[in-house]
């Protein structure tokens, strides 16, 4: 809590200070560390966080999300809403108006044609656009004049802030990318490595996967910003080394995603050179239960498919008992410290959508044992492992390689052993686990294990597509090359119907209600998804860097134009 108050103090100080020294480039140089180095500066060709965030210094959209998750205007004059007439009453059209007099960093004017071109660029079938989902459901984009962009949707769109909002869908310059449509997209190396933008900085040198050198954009719309004349984004190493470079050696001013263990957090804070910023978004570390049988005795192609239901995880009492045996607070204390908090929800935020489900937060070992007894799983042969009809209650528990996840595995294995469940642990290199290669048995989609652990979140503030992942027809299997998102093989017609209802509901309060209900159906009503920890972002900022506000809804560098040097 001390940390948070320190943060608030810093933020208040920021507001005062930035007014005092307002001159572009007056504060010299700022060093930023992304331990995963940016590979490309075009977010349409890479959806990796590091790439999107680095490019957000250069490229901007009509609007962005602030630290509270609210939409605020960037290139647009104001945020269109139903109230101000920017969004049509039937929710099928949104009209953006550009600020007049905007210039690209090369001095040419920004027009609505650039926005229309951006849409064309991303929708091209051969371009492999990484952000295509942001332009989903758009029927047409029209540009009645140089400053107006009218987006018409296929049907009512309760959340119209998708295209051109946030760091993932910025506007690119038509003149620069005109020859990079479709298959040509990846041959445009110069453009992808040095886009012309409207953001506070422009690229001077880009060494891919290593360093981005930037300087203040001379045509940035606010003549007093940014305060820094130059910026370097360096990549490489790991989260620990990144935190160390800001908090202990003071070589860098800001380090992204410094996810380190609580003991180390305390040590870094004690060094006194910087602060660890944390904020919570929608990222939830969870255990997914496999509703199908992953047994290696089944023929290949039938393992973990709906043909064979799981021998014991289909029993809700077993799933619930497994969840009850976990002490989530201990997990947080061991793995995340200030950067995590226990949760029972799949959708932990925004407030509108977050269910008040807290019953899992207290560990109940006795209750878990009783529940397993009730389900008929008893230790009949006295070897400490429960069994039923000659079958042992034995679980294979897999996750990706990551020190925190391995600690979680060890702890959870301990608790499960104590309630009489045998646990075998397995860890898989992240590039294989998340690779989705249909030829590999170790991907999280194939789920050749009884339970598995990973973290997932959703883009922006609307959980609808996220909740729609658990539809019956999204179950991965050999027929769809294991590409579905319904990892648990969960299938409930009532759930499917409710998701359909959500898609056509426009009233925000009603949407919140439905989303909460969907969340509960997956978590506390069925224990299909056992949420563990609501994981926050943890980044490190030097004491000499002012104006930093951690934003979990958009890119972390969202307000780099307001950063300044504390003197």
């Amino acid at each position: 809590m001390k940390l948070r108050s320190a943060l608030l103090g810093a933020a208040a100080f920021t507001a005062l200070a930035s007014a005092a020294w307002a001159e572009r480039g007056a504060d010299g140089h700022v060093n930023v560390l992304y331990w995963q180095a940016p590979s490309i500066l075009n977010p349409y060709l890479s959806s990796g966080t590091k790439d999107v965030e680095a490019s957000s210094l250069i490229l901007e959209g009509m609007a962005g999300f602030n630290e509270k998750g609210e939409v605020f205007p960037r290139l647009a004059e104001s945020v269109p809403t139903v109230d101000n007439g920017g969004v049509s009453a039937d929710l099928t059209q949104i009209t953006w108006k550009l600020k007049p007099g905007l210039l690209w960093s090369d001095g040419t004017p920004v027009t609505s044609a650039d926005a229309a071109f951006t849409y064309e660029y991303c929708k091209h079938p051969e371009g492999g656009c990484a952000q295509a989902a942001r332009f989903e459901g758009i029927k047409s984009i029209e540009t009645p004049d140089d400053l107006t962009v009218v987006i018409t949707f296929d049907g009512p769109k309760p959340n119209p802030y998708q295209a051109f909002v946030g760091g993932t869908s910025p506007i690119i310059q038509k003149a620069q990318f005109a020859n990079c449509l479709g298959a040509a997209a990846s041959t445009c190396t110069d453009q992808n490595f040095g886009p012309i933008g409207t953001g506070p900085f422009r690229v001077t040198e880009f060494k891919t996967n290593d360093t981005v050198s930037l300087e203040a954009n001379p045509n940035y719309r606010d003549a007093a910003k940014p305060a820094f004349a130059t910026m370097t984004i360096k990549g490489g190493g790991d989260a620990e080394a990144a935190a160390r470079a800001v908090m202990e050696t003071g070589e860098f001013d800001y380090a992204w995603n410094t996810q380190i263990n609580p003991d180390m957090q305390a040590q870094m804070i004690a060094a006194g050179k910087g602060t660890l910023l944390n904020g919570f978004g929608t990222l939830v570390e969870r255990i997914e239960m496999n509703m199908t049988d992953p047994s290696p005795d089944l023929p290949e192609g039938e393992r973990s498919t709906t043909k064979h239901p799981h021998p014991f995880l289909t029993d809700i009492r077993v799933r619930k008992a497994l969840s009850m045996a976990i002490d989530r607070q201990v997990l947080v204390d061991v793995g995340y410290g200030n950067a995590g908090r226990p949760t029972c929800n799949l959708v932990p935020a925004p407030e509108l959508y977050a269910s008040d489900n807290t019953e899992c937060l207290t560990q109940d070992m006795e209750g878990a044992k009783a529940l397993l007894d009730e389900a008929g799983w008893t230790d009949s042969d006295g070897d400490g492992i429960r069994d039923k009809d000659g079958k042992k209650l034995s679980i294979l528990y897999q996750t990706s390689t990551n020190p925190v996840r391995q600690d979680f595995q060890a702890l959870i294995k301990g608790w499960w052993n104590e309630v009489g469940v045998e646990v075998e642990l397995k860890n898989i290199d992240a590039s294989v686990y998340f690779g989705g290669d249909a030829g590999s048995p170790d991907t999280f989609q194939k789920f050749y294990a009884d339970v598995e652990m990973y973290a997932n979140n959703f883009d922006g503030t609307d959980p609808e597509p996220y909740l729609a992942q658990y539809l019956c027809d999204k179950i991965p299997g050999p027929d769809n090359q294991w590409q579905g998102e319904n990892i648990n093989r969960f299938c409930d017609p009532a759930y499917d119907a409710l998701v359909k209802e959500l898609a056509t509901t426009a009233d925000m309060a009603k949407r919140g209600e439905i989303a909460k209900k969907l969340n509960d159906m997956l978590t506390k009503d069925s224990y299909t998804v056992v949420a563990l920890v609501d994981r926050g972002r943890l980044s490190a900022a030097s004491n000499t860097l002012g104006g930093v506000v951690l934003n979990t809804w958009d890119t972390e560098l969202w307000n780099a134009q307001d950063w300044f040097r504390v003197k």
Binding site: E240, I260, N261, D263, M264, Q267, P296, D327, V330, D333, V334, Q363, S400, T401, P403, Q406, D407, Q409, A410, L411, K413, G414, W415, E418, E424, L425, K426, N427, I428, D429, V432, Y433, S440, P441, D442
Partner: protein
């Protein structure tokens, strides 16, 4: 060594020529470093093999363990506890079993392959080209994808034959052995090329010694010295590679400690709890050091010129 035991059984008469292996052993015994090395290695092996029978990990529940986390060394926990409250002393013993076993077996495999290929390539001119190109091929294969492919192809098959734990062990030692023999092959070949032209080999050849005997009696004993160096290097490398493998999820399950893994995990706590990297680091170094001195002793013992002195 079997010969030595055989001759020892009978009373030895002075005029009878002493067996070669007995000479070797006598010489080895006089090598102080080798004896110290043997003792240290024996102690380490005893620590990891017999230790767990004498020292049991306290039976605590997970929640009780967490309360015991990050404890300094005490009588209850001779090396303290780790960040999850596990007895570090016990983990060192457990970890050593795997590390020592993997280190020695993988080193043996690697040296066997390396020496065989190196000797054949150096000795038979016809084989030199193909075998050395094979070495080039292995040297240039990217290690990580190679290991990933090996694990993907053979893990389940081996687990079926040997059971999951032994299967993993076999896979790991073979993977390490198959990817680390090239250096010793190159070196052995170089030595053999030179030895082949030496007077004593030429002499042996001229009296019609068959190739097999030539290699076993005259060539191999003379390449022991570089092979010993390669062997010590290989043990250290195997122990570390094993930890890298389990870190990639290719080795033992994540809660199975090995010295390499403990060292790697301890790295995050280096500033607060330096002993957590010190113990595994020390254990690995001691093993390697011991093997090195034994190797030195063995080389001196096998060298008739030194033995005569």
């Amino acid at each position: 060594m079997r010969d030595a035991a055989g001759t020892q059984a009978k009373p030895v008469r002075m005029e009878r020529p002493r067996s070669q292996w007995r000479d070797v052993w006598d010489q080895f015994k006089t090598h102080k470093g080798a004896l110290v090395g043997m003792t240290v290695l024996a102690l380490l092996v005893a620590f990891v093999v017999i230790g767990p029978f004498l020292w049991h990990e306290e039976q605590l529940t997970t929640t009780e363990k967490i309360l015991m986390k990050n404890k300094p060394a005490s009588f209850r926990f001779p090396m303290g506890t780790d960040h999850l409250g596990r007895d570090y002393f016990y983990r060192m013993m457990q970890g050593g079993r795997v590390s020592i076993a993997v280190g020695f077996v993988a080193m043996t495999i690697s040296i066997l392959i390396g020496t065989t290929i190196g000797t054949l390539a150096g000795f038979f001119k016809r084989l030199d080209g193909p075998l050395m190109r094979l070495t080039d091929l292995f040297l240039s294969l990217p290690l990580l994808p190679l290991l990933l492919v090996m694990v993907m192809l053979f893990r389940d098959a081996l687990a079926r034959v040997f059971g999951p734990e032994l299967g993993t062990f076999v896979l790991i030692v073979i993977a390490i052995g198959v990817t680390s023999w090239m250096q010793s092959a190159r070196i052995v070949r170089g030595e053999v090329l030179a030895l082949k032209e030496r007077e004593f080999v030429l002499a042996a050849r001229s009296v019609g010694t068959p190739n097999r005997r030539l290699i076993l009696r005259h060539v191999l004993p003379n390449v022991v010295s570089p092979v010993m160096v390669a062997a010590t290097l290989n043990i250290a490398e195997a122990i570390i590679t094993e930890s890298a493998l389990s870190f990639l999820g290719l080795g033992f399950p994540p809660d199975f400690p090995t010295w390499g893994r403990l060292l790697y995990d301890g790295l995050s706590y280096m500033q607060q709890y330096p002993e957590r990297v010190m113990w595994p680091g020390l254990a690995i170094s001691l093993t390697v050091l011991a093997v090195n001195y034994i190797g030195d002793g063995l080389r001196d013992a096998l060298d008739p010129r030194i033995r005569g002195r």
